[in-house]
């Protein structure tokens, strides 16, 4: 379904200066309609500033925001543009009233009639699993319930673009997990263009179609998750995203206690109970990858054994980082000793193996990967 997607939002020459210091400097950013873009980066990278600048909540020193081809501020007024957006912050920022009234807030701002308000609010309360809290005071909610309310409030407006600024970072893991699932579902159903800032890379991997790595106000790299993770464009991005190998694939078979995933034509076995047809993301840490010059049909406890070619050997402190090509990219670490013993050099054939238990699986709840 990789049909021609229009670019719903563009930022050109966007600059924000605070006290003479450049906080944001984006020469170009284009977001295709219906896509989820995640911004990742260290604290102070400018993720929040970019979200605020794109939604025109923060005044930029220069630059243009273009929504559906219309330049905001020229003939297209700021308030008209903002009516197409919604934003959710890290804190729920609810109003001192009931959950129902909170979710209805955006609609009432738009003078939607009472019956319609009731209908839409009840729908979104259900979708976010807080229907039973409708009459509860916002002050009496748990962190998760409050953030659900904030999300419901934003989505009830049916925005064209939704901005999320680290919406899950102040929640505990189980709550985060549950909320992320619901969010994923809604994003898939509504195909709302989403721009989300997060410092949790797993979150980004799971939800996004594109990832942008930011540092000091600039976008260092932007692209599909696997590409950014596996092919970092420079050292900064590389050190930020970490050196795990990220693979995406479809489950083709379910075994006893494990399942097999087709990745670039080869089969990888991982632990879990995913069903055939599911899309998964597999993360393999370099230290879990072993290489040897033995035969690839040796019996080992590692379920995943592949013949591969050494592409690059990079000195990395006490180790050497070795990039392999098994049909899919794979990264491993070796000691100097090992390197010498194996006489490793670029271009040589080598066997790479890793255990099924060493794979960190991220399951996407959708039945298809966007773009396929």
């Amino acid at each position: 379904m990789n049909s021609e997607k229009s670019t719903i939002l563009e930022a050109k020459n966007l600059q924000v200066k605070r006290g003479g210091v450049s906080v944001l400097d984006i020469s170009y950013l284009g977001v295709p309609e219906g896509e989820v873009l995640c911004l990742i980066g260290p604290n102070g990278a400018g993720k929040s500033s970019l979200l605020l600048a794109l939604s025109c909540l923060l005044k930029s020193s220069q630059g243009d925001i273009i929504f559906r081809g219309k330049r905001v501020g020229a003939n297209y007024s700021l308030s008209a543009y903002r009516r197409n957006l919604a934003m959710v912050f890290q804190e729920p920022l609810l109003f001192d009233t009931t959950v129902f009234e909170n979710v209805a807030a955006g609609l009432k701002i738009r003078s939607v009639n009472q019956n319609e308000v009731k209908r839409v609010v009840e729908e979104y309360l259900e979708r976010f699993g807080i229907g039973h809290l409708a009459k509860r005071s916002a002050r009496k909610l748990s962190g998760g319930e409050a953030q659900r309310t904030s999300l419901a409030r934003a989505f009830a407006i049916r925005p064209e673009i939704i901005f999320l600024d680290e919406p899950f970072s102040s929640l505990d893991a189980p709550t985060r997990e549950s909320l992320m699932g619901d969010l994923e579902l809604i994003l898939h159903e509504t195909r709302t263009t989403t721009i989300m800032a997060t410092h949790d890379q797993m979150e980004a991997l799971r939800l996004s179609d594109q990832i942008a790595v930011m540092s000091e106000g600039r976008i260092m790299q932007i692209g599909p998750p696997a590409e950014v993770m596996n092919h970092p464009v420079d050292e900064f991005v590389a050190s930020f995203v970490g050196t795990e190998t990220i693979l995406t694939g479809k489950v083709i078979r379910r075994n006893a206690g494990t399942f097999s995933v087709s990745v670039a034509g080869r089969e990888v076995e991982a632990v879990g109970d995913a069903s055939p047809g599911e899309s998964v993301i597999l993360c393999i840490r370099p230290e879990n990858v072993t290489v040897s010059t033995g035969f690839s049909n040796e019996i080992t406890s590692a379920r995943n054994v592949f013949s591969s070619v050494v592409k690059k050997i990079i000195p990395s402190g006490a180790f050497y980082k070795v990039e392999l090509d098994c049909g899919f990219p794979l990264v491993t670490y070796v000691t100097n000793h090992a390197r010498e013993d194996l006489s490793m050099h670029p271009g040589m054939d080598i066997t790479a193996s890793f255990k099924a238990t060493a794979i960190h699986v991220i399951r996407k709840k959708l039945l298809s990967i966007p773009g396929e």
Binding site: L57, S79, N84, T97, I109, S137
Partner: protein, 232 residues
């Protein structure tokens, strides 16, 4: 002690027999202080909110001035207003000295900084990102301000009660600009002072008690508004 009992007795007698002069004085007190509080509400809440939400050079100084204004001695206000309003003063042509309007003006000057200062603090106390969140839901500037005011309704109503309390009990300015004219600019506080200076302590006490009842009644209504609508 008997004076207090006498006073309570007198208060009830005056109220139950609907003594016309006392009714008139009470109604005038309510009207004058009510209008003054209303004016201070309109100016105080709007200006206080605007200052809380905008940055401009000299903002700190303006805020200190407002905070100082909260403690303006009413008598000094009365003096200044009198000088402005008397015949040969700059606003003498309006001919409003010794009228209820003059009292309203003086009381509004006293109450406005109080309401403004507390409103300012109330709006500043809201979460920093709330403003952005409201705008991010598609609100216009005006809608945003209205929603912020609603969010701060607890302290804002306290501000109004403080303003009202300040002027319903005020006497120095009211005497100076009003003249305590019988049936025209005599209010509960000025009448109390007059009766006291005449030595009629029981009537003075009665008027004082009526004033307390009036203030309590009004504040009970405002408190009801402040505390309701907060879902359990």
């Amino acid at each position: 002690m008997d004076i207090i009992i006498e006073g309570i007795k007198q208060a009830f007698i005056l109220l139950f027999t609907l003594d016309p002069e006392v009714i008139g004085i009470t109604w005038l007190s309510l009207k004058v202080s009510g209008i003054a509080t209303l004016i201070s509400l309109l100016i105080g809440v709007s200006v206080g909110t605007i200052i809380a939400l905008t940055q401009f050079p000299g903002r700190r100084i303006v805020i200190s001035l407002i905070n100082t204004g909260m403690g303006l001695p009413p008598v000094v206000v009365g003096l200044f207003v009198t000088i402005f309003l008397w015949r040969n003063g700059p606003l003498g042509f309006l001919e409003i000295l010794y009228t209820p309007t003059a009292i309203i003006i003086a009381q509004a000057v006293i109450a406005t900084p109080i309401v403004m200062g507390i409103s300012l603090a109330a709006i500043q106390n809201l979460p920093a990102n709330l403003r952005l969140q409201i705008l991010a839901l598609g609100a216009t500037r005006l809608q945003m301000v209205w929603i912020l005011i609603k969010e701060a309704r607890l302290p804002l109503l306290a501000a109004i009660m403080a303003g009202f309390g300040g002027v319903i009990s005020e006497v120095g300015a009211s005497i100076m600009v009003g003249g305590n004219i019988k049936g025209y600019t005599r209010v509960l506080t000025t009448a109390t002072v007059m009766e006291t200076s005449k030595g009629n302590f029981d009537i003075a006490m009665a008027l004082g008690i009526i004033l307390l009842l009036l203030a309590f009644f009004i504040n009970a209504i405002l408190t009801q508004i402040q505390q309701r609508e907060r879902p359990r």
